[in-house]
Every structure is written in C-alpha cells, then in structure tokens.
C-alpha cells in the first residue's frame, strides 16, 4: 500500500511574525521557513506505518513556489521515498489544494492520505476535510492515535474532540489529519540526508493535473490583533459589578 503525505512550507513556528506595513499580509522576506509542524507529524506517522511493514512506499507532496523543494528534501531526509512538487505561484487556498490533491490521488492511487490538521500560517483546518469530500473517502481528523488493520483494510483513528476522545473505524482508502499528540517527529540524520540526495522529486504543474487555480476568496486586509490592555484592580464588589455592567457589558 502506498501512503501519500501532503506537506506545507510555512514560516517557522518559533519566528515572531510581523505584519507588512501595507497590511496586505505577513512579512515573509528573510524569514526562516520550515515544514508545518502538523505536516511533520503526518509524515512521521506515515513513516512509522511503513516501518511496521504495513505500507510499501511513502510519497511526500508539496505545492507552491520553487522553494517548496527544500521542504520536500527535508521530508525525504526524514525517510520519505519520493517527492512530488506541484509548482504554483500565487495564493493557494485550501479548496485549490484539495483539488490538486484529488488529481494526484488519481495518479498515484495511495491507500492512505495523511495531512496535518491545519497549517500554522492560515489555521484553516479545511484541506483534509475538503479532499475527503471531493474523493468521497472516509476521514478521521484530529487523529491522536492511528492503528492500521491490513486484513480488514481498515484503520482505527482516535480523534481529539471537544468532549474528549472519539474512536472511529474507517475503511481504506481514507484521509487522516494529524493532531499534536499523535507522535514526536524524528530528526533528519546524516545517513538519511545522504540517501535523500538520490531520491526523486517529480514536478507537476496545475495544468498537467487539469486543475484550474481560481479562488473565490480575496484577502482584503491583515492586521495585528489589538494589544492586550493592562488589568484593573477593583476596590470593592460594587465597583466590580458596576464595571461588568457598564464597561464590559456582560451583565
């Protein structure tokens, strides 16, 4: 069985972001970019499934400008077997990504498609769900545990939901999106970095896949959240009630 993992190149999680002065977006020049942490977890899970013998190949996919190849190289250095780069400049919103992924799934025919639950730059949390809908595949999102059953061709997923944990059983092929507690991703060790140099990254363009990148959404403005105001110490219960009523308007 083949596993396909979608990974995204985003601003590094530890970087302090700044909004561009013209409010059109976030400053990305000279800023460190890395693989989305949830995508790392997705790739790690795919690698573990392969190492347990239940999959034959892990294919990493990334979409965007040329630099995405760096992120794919990291994925290969972690242990993915092949890479696919869909070259597209300009904004790629979740629906376009989902359409591209559907096209790739039809080419590669994986048994499992694993993604991170959301990207830390847009926090959309939509791509996995959309692609499952487009493919008409079952989905297990916010996975905190994944157990494959090869004979039954099914996968049991524990999901982190607001009320606690929900366990689902999905027939393969299926879409899984990963949450933080699923695993701890491995580091890229030198022997693997060396092997990665000879691994193949295939390039596609959206036209090759017959997908038109169009967006029904337009980013109008990006602003920083308002700065948190200092707290106020109230001197009596009456003053507290007064403030809650008249200033905060909550009672």
């Amino acid at each position: 069985m083949k596993i396909m993992v979608a990974i995204k190149r985003v601003i590094d999680y530890a970087v302090k972001i700044r909004v561009k002065p013209d409010k059109s977006g976030v400053e990305t020049k000279n800023v460190k970019m890395s693989m989305n942490p949830f995508c790392e977890i997705a790739l790690e899970e795919a690698l573990r499934i392969k190492e347990s013998g239940m999959a034959s190949e892990v294919v990493a996919v990334s979409m965007g400008p040329t630099q995405c190849v760096d992120t794919l190289r990291t994925g290969l250095a972690m242990g993915a077997d092949r890479g696919i780069h869909v070259e597209a400049t300009g904004a790629l919103l979740p629906l376009s990504v989902a359409r591209l992924l559907r096209a790739l799934v039809e080419v590669e025919e994986p048994g499992l498609l694993i993604l991170g639950k959301q990207a830390i730059d847009d926090d959309c949390n939509q791509t996995g769900q959309m692609v499952a809908g487009l493919l008409n595949w079952p989905q297990g999102t916010f996975a905190s545990k994944v157990v494959l059953d090869k004979e039954k061709q099914a996968v049991t997923v524990d999901r982190e939901v607001d009320g606690g944990l929900e366990t689902l059983c999905l027939d393969l092929p299926a879409v899984i999106t990963t949450d933080l507690r699923l695993n701890q991703p491995r580091y890229a060790t030198l022997p693997n970095i060396m092997k990665a140099k000879s691994k193949v990254i295939k390039k596609f363009s959206p036209q090759d896949l017959n997908v038109e990148i169009k967006s029904d959404l337009e980013v109008v403005q990006v602003t920083e959240p308002p700065k948190r105001k200092a707290g106020v110490i109230v001197s009596s219960v009456d003053e507290l009630i007064d403030k809650l009523k008249n200033e905060a308007n909550v009672i």
């Binding site: 590094d12 999680y13 530890a14 970087v15 302090k16 000279n30 800023v31 460190k32 890395s34 693989m35 942490p37 760096d70 990291t74 250095a77 701890q184 580091y187 890229a188 060790t189 030198l190 022997p191 970095i193 060396m194």
Partner: protein, 531 residues
C-alpha cells in the same frame, strides 16, 4: 522579586565562612557592606569610625543558631546546610566594623524603606549561592536605583539607555538582564555578542565584571573586544565615566580592561556600552556523534577550515554528560538513535544566506562522515529542533545540580591533552564519583564536573590540588571563564607567576586602598594581610 539564587549582585557581609562561589553565571561587583563603607570616605560622619574594631565573631554560626532557634525554617534550609562545604573558613578582617541600627536608618534615608532589606528569608536566599555550596552572613541587602546612591544590588538599574541602529552600539545600565537585551536587540536586527545558558537571569554588569565567555566566543570574541565603554563606581565613591561609544580611541591607557573580569574587586560597573553584531538569519545547528576525543579535535580543525566564517559555536559533551541530561532534565531526548557513542559535538553556523549556509554545512557534515570523523549526526530542520539540541548542552549545569553535589572546574587547556585530565580523574576517583566533561571545545575550555551524592572532604582531597597542579603543568588556566572568586583566590599562583600577582595587588591597593570591594576574593589572602 527576582530569582535571588541566580542574580548575583548582592552584597556580602564580610563573613567568616563561605562567601559566594559561582558557576558560569557570574556575580557582579559588590562592595562589601559594612559601616566603614566607601560612602564613609567622603562623608566625615562619626558613624563611620574606622577605628572601631570588631571582635572576630563567627557570623555563620550565629546565623545558623538563629536558624535552629526560629524553627519556622523549612526542610529545604536544613538540606542546604548539609551541603555546606567544611573546607574554607575565612577570618573576618578585624579592620571592618559591624553593622548597627544607625547605619540601617541612614541607608533607609538614602534609598527609601523598600530598598533596604533585612528580612531573614530574603537575606538567606541572597547569602546562598546557586549551588548552595557557600553561605554568607550578610545582615543587610541594599537595592539602589541610580549611581548617586550606594550601589549594592543593581537589578533595579535596568534601563536601556540608547541604541544606535547604524553602528550597532548599545548603551545600557548594568542591571539589565542578558535575555532582555537579546530580545530588545532582536527587534532591531542585532544580537548580543555573548550568549550563556543562564541568560534568563544574569545581568550584563555581572557578565562584564566577570568577563563571561559563553557559547559564541569562538565567533564574536570575548567581552574585552566587544565592550566599548564602562561607567564604573570606585571604592571611594568616585564615578568614572569611561562610557565611550567609539570603536577606536587610543587616548591614554585603556582602563576599562582592568574592570572587565575584575569580579567587582576594583570597582562596580554601573553602565555598559557594547558593540553588537547584526543578526544573521541563517542559523543551522547540527548534533553529531564522534567515537573518540581525537576525532572531536580533528572535527574542530576541519570545521574551522570548511565552515570558516559561518561557524558560530562548537561545543562538546561526553556520553556521561548526555546520560545525565537525559535522566535529570524534562523533555529532552537524544537526537541520535541510541548507540555506543562516546562523544557528542554541537556545531552551529550563522550566515546571511539560508540556502548557501545549509548547503555548506551539509557538505561539510557528509564529508566528515565519509572521512570517519563522525559516526552519526542530525541536522535541525527548524528552530524548535535547533533549540532542543541546544537544550541538551545548555541544560547540563541544571542537570548536574539535580543529580546531587557537584564539584565544578572550569579549565583552559591545550586541546590535545584536554580529555586526558578527565580520564585521569576517573581513575583517581573510581566508583566514588561520576566525572562528567563538556565545554567550549572551540575555545579550548573544559568544564570538568565531578558529581557525587553529597559533598565530602575526602573526595575534595582527591580532586584538589591535583586538578590545579595538572592544569599548571600543562600551562593551562585554572579558571577559563568562571573567575577566581573565593574558591580559587589562593590558587591564582597555579596560573600566574608571583611577580605578576604582586603587581595585581598594587593595582588593587591603588583603586581600593581600604579593601572594601569584594574582599577575600580574586587575589590571594596573603596579599591583603601583608598590607
């Protein structure tokens, strides 16, 4: 309130027993407080009669008795007492007079009620060093806000005075915490030229007074090169304004170098002007394993050649150090698959072009692997992974603290023989202690740490003076970056000839004739008693 155990700027009453020891996070200048204080010299007040001789009283014992008496002490205090080393007992200099209530009122008048601290709990924390190895007997702690007042603990003097974006020259007060300065400079596109594991609590004045080394010395050099100017307060209360912001100034003797590294014994640093390097965006960290010490050395040579201008840190630790960190620190894991590695090396590169730097580092690492210099390695793929690699190295002092008692030695040695000392100490101590080694291999600086369940005199006897003699024999330094303080003041002769030390004594006499600034430290006691 600050984490007193770590902020080092507190005053020490000339105590009988243990005055502060330090680790890589140095104490800043402290004038010893007593009635015959520096302030007295320009205030002819009958309060400060120096002819007052005090009786040699065992301050420590009186404090300890108090501890037993009061009974509200928690178990932790008693545990700390157990750690006290019985080694050195300092005789209080009879020329110093004792604290009395008039002095306390005077200081309250100058500083305000809040900044004169007599509370026993705070005093106990202030009097005990981070390792709970030494305990002073100060009865008073002062916190001034500006140079005009008596300077004892400068953590309230923590303003950034100015920063020039073009030249990168930062001027700030001595109480600024290093990490805060780093955060500030980050917004301006610059970094501090020094970085320590303890940046969250160490103050820049202390870093300067002890000439702190840190993790990036191999790239940016020492504070002697980066500090452009200082404002210093002398023992007689004179304020020396040497706060230049010029890269070049050859007018007369460059006195600031005397104060850098003087550990507060010549004057108290109150303001610092420092040159900061630009913040380069491409930082890469690799964690490597080597099979023996010889490979580590060769790796260093290769790194200097092949990585050249982008190399910014080269640290090493041995496998016992790694085990310690994995066992005692939370959230730490070995980046490399478990295997019999003997040595670990952490290499950091900082450059201006991400793709170029990464390529260069990767090429170097693959070449090193092919040449058999490294047996395995991991390259951090994002900032989080890089921080976790650093946590292993920077968390070592903390892990050692948690493991029990530790004897620390900070030695500069020729790189070829450095590890031989570690192996010899292991043979000497056998089963009684765990000898752990790590350090700034790039600077030839070994941090030798001997971990035992408790402090014991017979273990100490096996270690000292053997370590100092060994270092001296190889023309090394018994204190590479940690300074001499109390612990090594009398051992200075292992690294400096007698006539040099005597000249240091003359300089001390010239700048602090009454010997009130940080007495009993830095220079041997024999020098002050002969005066």
């Amino acid at each position: 309130m600050q984490n007193w155990g770590r902020t080092r700027r507190f005053l020490i009453y000339p105590a009988v027993n243990f005055l502060n020891n330090r680790r890589s996070n140095p104490i800043a200048a402290n004038p010893v407080f007593n009635s015959a204080f520096g302030l007295a010299n320009h205030r002819d007040s009958p309060l400060y009669s120096e002819s007052e001789k005090s009786n040699l009283h065992t301050c420590f014992h009186s404090l300890r008795d108090k501890v037993v008496e009061t009974g509200i002490r928690s178990a932790i205090r008693f545990q700390h007492r157990g750690f006290g080393s019985d080694a050195t007992k300092i005789q209080r200099n009879p020329l110093f007079s004792t604290l009395n209530s008039e002095d306390i009122s005077y200081f309250k008048g100058v500083l305000g009620e809040k900044n004169v601290i007599q509370d026993e709990e705070r005093l106990l924390t202030a009097n005990t060093d981070w390792m709970h190895k030494y305990r002073g007997s100060s009865k008073l702690l002062l916190q001034p806000r500006s140079t005009e007042e008596v300077v004892i603990n400068v953590s309230l003097m923590n303003n950034i005075i100015s920063f020039d974006k073009v030249s990168g020259i930062l001027v700030c007060e001595a109480g600024c915490i290093l990490e805060n300065l780093i955060t500030f400079l980050d917004t301006q596109g610059y970094i501090m030229p020094l970085d320590l594991g303890a940046k969250g609590s160490s103050q820049i004045g202390g870093n300067v007074s002890t000439n702190a080394g840190g993790l990036r010395l191999v790239r940016y050099g020492s504070l002697h090169g980066n500090v452009l100017g200082l404002e210093v307060v002398l023992a007689n209360g004179d304020v020396l304004d040497m706060l230049g912001t010029l890269r070049k100034d050859n007018t007369g003797y460059d006195l600031k170098h005397l104060f850098i590294g003087s550990e507060g014994s010549l004057g108290i640093v109150t303001k610092v002007s420092i040159l900061t390097p630009p913040k380069l965006s491409a930082v890469n960290v690799a964690f490597l394993a080597c099979k023996d010490y010889f490979s580590c050395q060769k790796l260093l040579v290769e790194a200097k050649w092949k990585l050249g201008e982008i190399l910014s840190a080269f640290e090493f630790l041995d496998n016992l150090a790694m085990d310690l960190v994995l066992n005692h620190l939370e959230g730490v894991r070995n980046p490399l698959p478990p295997s019999l590695h003997s040595f670990y090396v952490l290499i950091e590169t900082t450059g201006s072009d991400e793709a170029y730097s990464k390529e260069k580092l990767e090429a170097f690492l693959l070449h090193a692997m092919g040449a058999g210099l490294i047996t395995d390695g991991a390259l951090a793929q994002d900032i989080n992974q890089a921080s976790s690699f650093w946590l292993i190295r920077e968390g070592l002092p903390e892990a050692l603290m948690k493991a029990g008692a530790v004897y620390k030695y900070d030695l500069s040695l020729p790189i070829e023989n450095m590890y031989n000392l570690v192996e010899e100490m292991r043979i000497r101590l056998g089963e009684s202690a765990t000898v752990v080694a790590y350090g700034h291999l790039g600077d030839g600086n070994l941090h030798l740490n001997i971990s035992t369940p408790q402090y014991e005199d017979k273990i100490l006897a096996q270690i000292e003076p053997y370590v100092y003699e060994w270092t001296s024999k190889h023309r090394g330094s018994i204190s590479a970056e940690h300074g001499l303080g109390l612990m090594k003041a009398n051992e200075i002769f292992y690294s400096k000839p007698t006539n040099v030390v005597h000249l240091m004594g003359s300089i001390k006499k010239a700048l602090d004739p009454k010997g009130i600034l940080n007495p009993y430290k830095v220079l041997p006691h024999s020098l002050s008693s002969s005066s």
